[in-house]
C-alpha cells in the first residue's frame, strides 16, 4: 500500500516562508481536499510533497523513502500530478495527450503497446472522451480540456493522485463531473489530494479536509468535525452558515 507522509515541511523562497512546519498523510481510498485562501501555500506544499520543490526542513516520504531522492520515474509511477497551470504547447491529438500519462512507463506517442494502450483507452472511456479522442486538443472546450487532463492523470494508474485546483473556471455541471471522476478513482482504491476553493463541494466529496492559512496547516479531519462557521471565518475571513453539507457564505466578516 502506497502512503505519502509529509513530516514538518518548511518551504521558503528566498527570505519568505511559504509553508511552515506542515505535516500530512495521504493513503489509498482517501479523498483529501486541501482548503485555504490564495497564497496560503497550498501549491508549495503539494510540490514539496511530490519532491519537486526542496523544503528548508522536514521531509516528504513515499513508503518511507524521501520523495526528493526518488528518481523522477519512480515518483511519477506512484503519484500522478495535475498542476494548476495546464499548458499545451502544440495542438496535439487528445489520445496522445492522454498517452503522456504513460510516460513514466516508457510509452512513446504514436506506438503504444499492450498495457499502455489499454490504460489509455480505459482512461479515455472513464472520462467520457471516446468521441473526442482523435480531435486536436485546441478544438476542445474548457470542460473537455479538463477532462482530457484528468484522463491523462488517470492513465498513469498510479496509486496516488495530486490535483491542484482541477475545477477552477468550470461550470457547475463540469465541477460535479470532474470531482465525480476523481471520486471514482478513489472508489477504485486510489488516494487523492485535491486543492479546491469550493467549500461546499469539498465537504460533499472529501473524506478529510486539510485547512491552511498563512503557510500553516490549522486543521486536518473529516468534514463533520472540521467544517464549522468559525473555521471558515478564521480561514477565509467570510461569514458562513452551515447546514449538513450545505455551506452558505453571506459576505466578508469585519472582525479583522
Amino acid at each position: 500500500m502506497t502512503e505519502l507522509v509529509a513530516e514538518n515541511l518548511t518551504i521558503a523562497a528566498k527570505d519568505t516562508v511559504l509553508v511552515e512546519d506542515a505535516s500530512l498523510k495521504l493513503t489509498p481510498g482517501e479523498f483529501v481536499v486541501l482548503l485555504g485562501p490564495n497564497g496560503a501555500g497550498k501549491t508549495s506544499l503539494l510540490r514539496a510533497c511530490l519532491g519537486l520543490a526542496r523544503p528548508v526542513s522536514g521531509r516528504a516520504k513515499l513508503d518511507g523513502q524521501d520523495t526528493a531522492r526518488l528518481s523522477p520515474i519512480q515518483r511519477a509511477r506512484s503519484i500522478a500530478y495535475l498542476p494548476q497551470i495546464r499548458q499545451l504547447a502544440w495542438p496535439n491529438i487528445v489520445r496522445d495527450v492522454v498517452a503522456l500519462g504513460r510516460f513514466s512507463h516508457g510509452a512513446a506517442l504514436g506506438k503504444l503497446r499492450g498495457a499502455d494502450a489499454e490504460a489509455v483507452e480505459r482512461a479515455i472511456r472513464s472520462c467520457d472522451l471516446s468521441h473526442l479522442a482523435d480531435r486536436q486538443a485546441d478544438t476542445l472546450s474548457g470542460g473537455e480540456l479538463v477532462r482530457m487532463h484528468c484522463a491523462r492523470v488517470f492513465a498513469t494508474e498510479a496509486p496516488l493522485l495530486i490535483a491542484d485546483e482541477p475545477i477552477a473556471a468550470l461550470d457547475p455541471r463540469h465541477q460535479f463531473r470532474i470531482l465525480g471522476l476523481i471520486d471514482g478513482y478513489v472508489q477504485r482504491g486510489g488516494g487523492a489530494l485535491v486543492v479546491l476553493h469550493d467549500i461546499e463541494l469539498a465537504a460533499r466529496y472529501a473524506s478529510r479536509l486539510i485547512w491552511m492559512r498563512h503557510g500553516k496547516i490549522v486543521a486536518d479531519g473529516p468534514p463533520e468535525t472540521t467544517l464549522t462557521p468559525e473555521r471558515i471565518e478564521a480561514i477565509y475571513g467570510v461569514r458562513a452558515r452551515i447546514d449538513g453539507v450545505r455551506v452558505e457564505i453571506s459576505g466578508p466578516s469585519h472582525i479583522e
Binding site: I85, W90, Q136
Partner: protein, 329 residues
C-alpha cells in the same frame, strides 16, 4: 495513416533529388552515364565530375539540411516554440565567429582543417555555455534570452573582425563563407563533419521522447517523470554538435531548421518527438533541391545557398510568427 509513409516517402524523394543533382549542372549528364559513374564504370572524366564534384556537393547539402532540421525540431520541442532554431540560441553565430576568427588570422592557410575544427569548437563553446545556463536556470525564457545575447555578441564580434580585416581577400572569404554554400565540398570535408553530426543526431534521437512530455509544460513534464535537467543538457548538446558540424561544412544557412519542422508537424500529430526524423529528411531534401536551383539559375556569380535559403525561409518565418496564437504562452 499518412504518418507511416512520411519518412519512407521523404527518403525516396531525397535519393531522387541527390541523383538528380548528379545529372544536372553546367553540362547535363544522362542518367545512364551517372549510374555507370556511380558504380565505378564509365570514363574517368564522368567519374571525376560525379564523385569529386556533384555527389559530394549534393550529399553535403543533404547532411547540412538534415543536421539543421533535426536540431531545429529538437530545440522547438525543448523550448516549446515553433520559432526556435540553432540560430536563436546563438550556436550558429558562435560557430561562425570562431570560423571567421581563424580566417582573419590566416590560420586556415597553415592548415585547412582549422576552419571546420574552429566552427565545431565555437558551437561547442556556445553549447557548453547554454548547458551551464540550463543547469542554473529552470526557465526556458532565460535560456532563449541568453541565446539571443550570445548571438548578438557573436554578430558584433564578427563585424569587428571584418572591419579590421587586413586585406580584401580575407574579407571576401569571410563574406563568402558567412553566406553559406556547399560549392566545391569534398568527401574529406564531409568526413570531418559527419562524425559530429552523427553523434549530435544520435543524442537528439535517443532523448526525443522527453520532448513529447514537455508539451504539457515543465511543471507537468516534471510530474510525468521527465528529468528536466538531463533533457535540457542532452538536447542542447546534441543540437550544438550537429549545428557546429553543419556550420563547418557549409557556413551559416538559416531558416531551414524552422521551415522543415513546421511543415512536418501536422503529419505527426504535432508531437515534437515524432517530428524529428521527418524534419531532418525534409530539411535535407529542401537544401538539395535549393542547391540544384542555385546551380541552374543563370547568374554571373553563382548564388549562395544560404542566401536562397534565407530568401525563401525568412518570409515563411514571419508568416509562422504571425500565425502564432498567444494563448499558449
Amino acid at each position: 495513416m499518412t504518418e507511416r509513409w512520411l519518412s519512407p516517402a521523404l527518403i525516396l524523394l531525397s535519393v531522387v533529388a541527390v541523383f538528380s543533382a548528379c545529372l544536372l549542372g553546367s553540362t547535363p549528364m544522362p542518367a545512364d552515364r551517372v549510374m555507370a559513374a556511380l558504380i565505378g564504370g564509365a570514363d574517368p572524366s564522368d567519374r571525376l565530375v560525379v564523385w569529386a564534384i556533384r555527389l559530394p556537393r549534393a550529399l553535403a547539402a543533404f547532411l547540412v539540411g538534415a543536421a539543421l532540421g533535426l536540431s531545429g525540431a529538437a530545440l522547438q520541442g525543448l523550448l516549446r516554440n515553433p520559432l526556435a532554431e540553432p540560430g536563436v540560441l546563438g550556436v550558429s553565430a558562435t560557430a561562425s565567429l570562431a570560423a571567421t576568427f581563424v580566417i582573419y588570422y590566416g590560420l586556415v592557410a597553415l592548415n585547412p582543417w582549422f576552419l571546420p575544427l574552429a566552427a565545431i569548437a565555437g558551437a561547442l563553446i556556445a553549447t557548453a555555455l547554454l548547458a551551464v545556463a540550463a543547469i542554473r536556470t529552470r526557465s526556458v525564457v532565460t535560456l532563449i534570452l541568453i541565446g539571443v545575447g550570445l548571438s548578438s555578441f557573436a554578430g558584433a564580434a564578427m563585424s569587428l573582425l571584418m572591419n579590421l580585416a587586413p586585406n580584401p581577400f580575407s574579407l571576401a572569404d569571410m563574406i563568402n563563407w558567412m553566406l553559406g554554400s556547399v560549392a566545391n565540398r569534398s568527401f574529406d570535408e564531409i568526413l570531418l563533419a559527419a562524425p559530429f553530426m552523427v553523434a549530435g543526431g544520435a543524442i537528439l534521437l535517443i532523448t526525443r521522447r522527453g520532448l513529447s512530455a514537455l508539451t504539457l509544460g515543465e511543471e507537468a513534464a516534471d510530474g510525468l517523470g521527465l528529468n528536466l535537467r538531463h533533457q535540457r543538457i542532452f538536447t542542447v548538446l546534441g543540437a550544438g554538435l550537429a549545428t557546429g558540424a553543419s556550420v563547418a561544412l557549409a557556413g551559416a544557412i538559416g531558416f531551414v531548421g524552422i521551415v522543415a519542422p513546421h511543415l512536418v508537424r501536422p503529419f505527426v500529430g504535432h508531437d515534437p518527438a515524432r517530428s524529428l526524423v521527418p524534419s531532418a529528411l525534409l530539411a535535407g531534401l529542401i537544401l538539395v533541391v535549393a542547391d540544384i536551383g542555385v546551380r541552374l539559375i543563370p547568374t554571373t556569380n553563382e548564388l549562395k545557398l544560404g542566401v536562397v535559403a534565407a530568401l525563401i525561409g525568412a518570409p515563411v518565418f514571419v508568416w509562422i510568427a504571425m500565425q502564432r496564437r498567444t494563448v499558449h504562452d
